[in-house]
């Protein structure tokens, strides 16, 4: 077995060779989001190009660097030149892009984002000066998109496993002290101080303790954990070693959603590499510390994000929560003291241990230290994965990093199905645990969904309640039955059959569900309804009293209309309409029969996006 020092010197040489490449090097962002945007086809196109021209170049698949809306991202690093990044590359762009570098020896200027070199590159801006990246502080995401996640050398060369070495030279109490001083709080949502949970576990006398990494990212609209594991799996695994060493755990599990096949593959590869390096298994790096990690694939249940439900699921049972105490830190998996930490909490640990607690706590606010990753999605211009210091005002996140809202800002939804919708009056509020809780929402795991004037608040509340109703495990009656009734009332309102008394009913029922449920799912499920009722009551009233959906979303309350002056009579909508609701001869304004229309959106889309159409079809509020 080679020692870690040998491995690291080799890794450093490999990394340096990569930075001073003698052969052209292409980087392709091949995380799940990059692949969804078409990275695989771009990769094929690049290979075809190189084959046809008999050129030699290395191709490196990297994780997500964050600005998903720019995917597929392709970077070109010619010998002696810095790495230059290009956005939204389709296979048809590949020949031009590569011709420019390979044939003309010129920097390609279209689709240009910036360079990632340490020195300047004339005329090319710095990648990290891009407006989406300039406002970020990247600690957890430090390696994402820069290293090849399947190559442990890259991780080692960037100080990988140095935090582990430091820990092994300290006592568990010293490590705990570092984490305590750093102010790190659980990144899964509740924000409980990490060190306090650990101490309870460590002080519980028992021969065996367990550590579980919670990667069951169930919040629909959040993908921070997936991106981190796909882009930098070793950081999370090194974090697990640090946590296990501190709490005295001998076995660890990664509980991960089966919907994340690429992340699972990355973890498997990384765990194999750890064994080879001697940082996993018996007597790690010659110390007394032994630890092993197993992957457990979740089978699809949102409630398994709750600690006791997650434990039940690993034990092979229905994932239903139980009463606490005893807390898992005292009595968890198979009755043994167990710590469950979120992916991001664990991924942060190596950076804290390596750079020191004071360094980490310089970021953030008095009570919320450090940085937090968010998946910034919805009706925002620049969507993607971001990392900002806690305490950053929402306005800066949405407008500076996110580039603003597509139409007019309406609300931002934090905390997923457990959180709430906050309107414009909260734009200057800081994103931290306390501020969000005071507003009736929660921090959650980091989903930030921006809603604009084309999003209906009532429909969004109905959506979340529908989600939690389906995911309720059914143990507590208020949650099982209450969420069903909440969905029923919201359904009625969105269909235009609501009555004014429904608002009171919603509120009373919401409080009953909150108060009468055992676990976080039921206790927080009504938050989307309560916050939207509180901050957007007018929209509920419009649905109930005027039978009108101001955002023109609720299908029973909208009509499709063709604007005669704009219609070019191109017949594209006639061709796509599945019910024959649109008629009219070529070159004359078409006619839309609302009695036949099923509001499928086909005509609206084709009229907006087809080159010869005139953007003449509108969806508007009305019965």
């Amino acid at each position: 077995m080679r020692t870690l020092d040998d491995a690291r010197s080799r890794a450093l040489r490999a990394w340096s060779a990569l930075q001073n490449n003698t052969r052209p090097l292409l980087y392709v962002g091949a995380g799940s989001c990059g692949l969804a945007a078409g990275a695989a086809e771009v990769l094929e196109a690049a290979e075809r190009y190189l084959d046809a021209k008999r050129l030699r170049a290395d191709i490196l698949k990297v994780g997500c660097i964050g600005p998903c809306y720019l995917e597929p991202l392709v970077d070109v690093q010619m010998p002696g030149r810095p790495r230059i990044s290009y956005s939204n590359i389709a296979p048809k762009h590949v020949p031009d892009l590569l011709d420019s570098f390979f044939e003309k020896d010129e920097v390609f200027t279209r689709h240009l984002v910036g360079h990632l070199g340490s020195d300047g590159c004339d005329g090319v801006p710095r990648f990290f000066d891009h407006p989406m990246l300039a406002g970020q502080v990247r600690i957890v995401l430090r390696n994402c998109g820069l290293i090849d996640p399947a190559n442990v050398d890259h991780y080692l060369a960037r100080d990988g496993y140095r935090a582990l070495e430091r820990c092994l030279a300290l006592s568990w109490k010293d490590v705990l002290e570092i984490v305590k001083t750093s102010g790190l709080r659980g990144r899964g949502g509740a924000g409980f101080p990490t060190w306090r949970k650990w101490l309870v576990c460590r002080e519980t006398a028992c021969g065996e303790r367990f550590l579980i990494c919670n990667a069951d990212e169930g919040d629909p609209g959040a993908f921070m954990n997936r991106s981190l594991i796909e882009g930098d799996p070793h950081a999370v695994l090194e974090g697990m070693l640090i946590a296990a060493y501190t709490i005295g755990a001998s076995r660890g599990f990664v509980y991960i959603r089966a919907e994340y096949p690429l992340a699972i593959e990355r973890l498997r590869t990384a765990i194999g590499q750890m064994r080879e390096l001697g940082v996993l298994g018996e007597r790690i790096l010659g110390s007394d510390f032994s630890f092993d990690i197993k992957i457990k694939e979740g089978a699809g249940a949102f409630v398994c994000g709750e600690e006791t439900a997650l434990i039940a699921s690993i034990e092979g049972r229905r994932g239903m929560p139980r009463t606490r105490p005893p807390f898992p830190a005292v009595e968890g998996l198979w009755g043994k003291p167990t710590i469950i930490n979120n992916v991001e909490t664990l991924g942060t640990l190596p950076h804290i241990v390596r750079n020191g607690a004071e360094w980490y706590s310089q970021y953030g606010t008095e009570t919320s230290k450090g940085t937090k990753t968010f998946s910034l999605v919805g009706k925002v211009r620049r969507t993607g994965l971001i990392e900002v210091p806690l305490g950053t005002p929402l306005r800066r996140v949405i407008y500076d990093v996110g580039g603003g809202v597509i139409k007019d800002f309406k609300a931002v939804q934090t905390g997923g199905p457990s959180g709430g919708c906050l309107g414009a009056e909260f734009l200057d509020s800081a994103v931290d645990y306390e501020t969000l809780a005071a507003a009736g929402s929660i921090m959650g795991s980091g989903g930030l969904i921006v809603l604009d004037s084309n999003t209906c608040i009532v429909d969004t509340a109905r959506y979340f309640l529908d989600f939690t109703q389906v995911e309720s495990c059914g143990k507590c009656v208020p949650c099982r039955v209450g969420t069903r009734h909440l969905v029923g009332i919201l359904d009625r309102i969105t269909h235009g059959h609501g009555e004014i008394e429904d608002l009171d009913r919603l509120e009373r029922l919401a409080h009953a569900v909150k108060g009468g449920s055992l676990c976080g799912l039921g206790q927080t499920a009504p938050n989307p309804v309560l916050t939207s009722l509180k901050y957007f009551r007018g929209e509920f009233l419009a649905h109930i009293l005027e039978k009108r959906c101001p955002a023109a979303v609720c299908r029973d309350l909208v009509v499709y209309r063709i604007i005669e002056d704009k219609c070019t009579g191109c017949q594209r909508c006639v061709q796509v309409c599945p019910t024959g609701a649109i008629t009219g001869p070529r070159s004359e304004p078409h006619n839309l029969d609302m009695n036949k229309c099923i509001k499928c959106r086909s005509c609206y889309e084709i009229c907006r996006f087809d080159a010869i159409a005139g953007d003449a079809i509108v969806i508007e509020s009305g019965a």
Binding site: C33, F223, A299, V377, Q413, F464, C600, S602
Partner: protein
């Protein structure tokens, strides 16, 4: 689809209660679904009653009990996909394939599923056909996809 005998799938596991979910996952991966006979075999192997196994299996969204269609279409209805028109994407599939979510088409060719989140929220609305994920999809793209698939 592999018709790997059930015994091979299960021999790799020792037979502790904690193996139940991994075994169910392996059997489903090999057969495409959990047939009644499979549940019976697992019950004998783990010495857990069939009732209890069904209790666990039906709790989780991953498990299915009927033979799925050959190609699996998953329409994402996570929050970002919902606010960007994911429901209408699902509607087109339902209308064109004449199935409801969770069902297979009459010819057994397609399986339509709605999923809570595929984790590609920045590219919403998202759908997946087998393992290929499509970002920024639209009603029209779905119609084109189905048109291509239907062509002989």
């Amino acid at each position: 689809m592999s018709s790997q005998p059930l015994s091979i799938v299960m021999d790799e596991r020792k037979g502790e209660p904690a193996d139940l979910i991994p075994i169910l996952q392996r059997v489903q991966a090999a057969h495409g679904y959990l047939a009644q006979e499979s549940i019976g075999a697992i019950s004998r192997h783990l010495k857990i009653s069939e009732n209890e196994i069904y209790g666990v299996a039906t709790f989780y969204a991953q498990f299915r009990f009927t033979k799925p269609g050959e190609h699996r279409i998953r329409v994402c209805l996570g929050t970002a996909c919902h606010v960007n028109g994911g429901e209408q994407i699902l509607d087109v599939f339902m209308r064109r394939l004449d199935v409801r979510p969770g069902e297979a088409t009459a010819d057994g060719k397609y399986q339509l599923d709605r999923v809570a989140c595929l984790g590609c929220c920045a590219l919403a609305p998202v759908l997946a056909v087998d393992e290929r994920i499509y970002g920024q999809s639209s009603v029209l793209q779905v119609q084109a996809l189905l048109g291509e698939a239907e062509r002989p």
